[in-house]
Assembly symmetry: C2
Homo-oligomer: 199 residues x 2
C-alpha cells in the first residue's frame, strides 16, 4: 500500500470520525478530542494535520461537499427531460427519509450560524448554495430553450427555489417542520408555474 | 410614577440593552455582564429578574415577537385586496433596507441554531413561523374566496412562502445573499402563480 493511499485512508477515517462526533456532540460542544476518540489517530496527530477545530471543520465541509455534489451531478444526469431533472434535483437536496441525517442537519445549522463570523465557513457554504443554484438555473434554461417551460427568467426562478430549499432545511432543523410537505410544494411549483400545467 | 410603570420601564431598558449587546457580541459571546453594562441595572439585579442567559434571551424573543407581530398585523390591516395584503406581508418580513438589522439577524440565526437543543427557543421561534404562516394562509384563503386568486390550497401555498422567507433570512445572514431579489420573486409569485397574471 502506498503512502498516498495511507494518507487518503487516514483522511477518510478522520472525516468519518468528524461526522460521528458532530452528530453526537453538535458543533458548539465538538472538540478535537471527541473526534480523535472516534478515529484511529491521536489528538496530537489530529492537531498535526489540522491547526484548529475550525480548520478541521472546513476540511469536513469540503469532504461533505464532494459527496453532496456527486448526488447533485447524479440528479442532473438522471433525466433528459428538464422537468424530471428539476424534480430529481429537488429530491436530491430534500430527501424525505432524512431523519437519519437530522443530527448532521442540526450541526450544519450551527455551522451556518458561525458563517457570519468565519470567512472559510462562509466560502464553503456558498459553494453548496451556488452549485445548487447553477444546477437549477441551467436546467430551467434548458427547459425554456426546448419549450418544456414557459419563458421565465432562469436565474430568478433558481434564486426562489434555492431560498425555499434553504428555508426547508432551517425550518426542519430549528422547528421540526415537515420537509416532505415543502418538497411536494416545490414539485408542484415546477409543474404548474414553470411548465404551466393547469388543473 | 407607579411601581408597575417602574417595572415596565426597567424591563424595556433591559430589552433595549439585550438588543444592543446581542448585535455587538452575537449570541455565543453574549454574557449577562455585557447586557448589564448597557442597562441601568446591575448584573446582580439582572440575575434577580432572569435566572440565566437563556432565560433572558427567551424573554427577549417574546419582546421581539410583540414588535414583529404588530408589523405583521399592520400589514394585514393595510389593504383590503388580498394580493396587496400579501405583498405587504412579504414586505413586512423581508424589508429591503434591512442592513440596520443585519447584526440582529446574525444573532437570530445563532438562536435558531440553538433551538434544536432548547425547547423554549424552539417554542418561541415557532410562534413567529406560525403567525406568518397563518397570516399568509388566511390572506390566500380570502383571495381564493373572493376570486382574486386561483383555486389553490392556501395552507400549502403558505408553507411554500414561509419556507422561502425563512431561506431568504438564513441565506442573507450566513452567505450575504440578496434579500431584495427574493422579495421581488415572491411578489411575482403572488401575481403570477396565485393571481394567474400572464405575461
Amino acid at each position: 500500500m502506498s503512502a498516498e493511499t495511507d494518507a487518503s485512508e487516514t483522511t477518510e477515517a478522520i472525516m468519518a470520525a468528524t461526522y460521528d462526533a458532530l452528530c453526537e456532540c453538535g458543533y458548539a460542544d465538538l472538540t478535537t478530542r471527541e473526534i480523535a476518540d472516534r478515529s484511529p489517530v491521536s489528538t496530537a496527530a489530529l492537531h498535526y494535520h489540522y491547526d484548529s477545530k475550525r480548520d478541521l471543520l472546513s476540511a469536513f465541509l469540503d469532504h461533505l461537499y464532494e459527496e453532496w455534489e456527486a448526488e447533485v451531478a447524479g440528479a442532473e444526469d438522471r433525466a433528459d427531460d428538464p422537468a424530471a431533472r428539476l424534480h430529481a434535483l429537488i429530491d436530491a437536496v430534500l430527501a424525505v427519509d432524512d431523519d437519519v441525517d437530522e443530527p448532521l442537519q442540526t450541526a450544519i445549522l450551527e455551522i451556518k450560524a458561525q458563517a457570519p463570523y468565519d470567512e472559510r465557513f462562509r466560502e464553503r457554504l456558498r459553494r453548496f448554495d451556488e452549485r445548487f443554484h447553477e444546477a437549477v438555473r441551467t436546467t430551467i434554461a434548458a427547459g425554456v430553450a426546448d419549450g418544456t417551460f414557459r419563458a421565465v427568467d432562469p436565474g430568478a426562478e433558481a434564486t426562489f427555489l434555492t431560498s425555499a430549499v434553504s428555508g426547508a432545511h432551517v425550518r426542519k432543523a430549528s422547528l421540526g417542520a415537515d420537509v416532505a410537505e415543502i418538497r411536494g410544494r416545490l414539485r408542484e411549483y415546477v409543474d404548474e408555474r414553470l411548465r404551466g400545467d393547469r388543473e
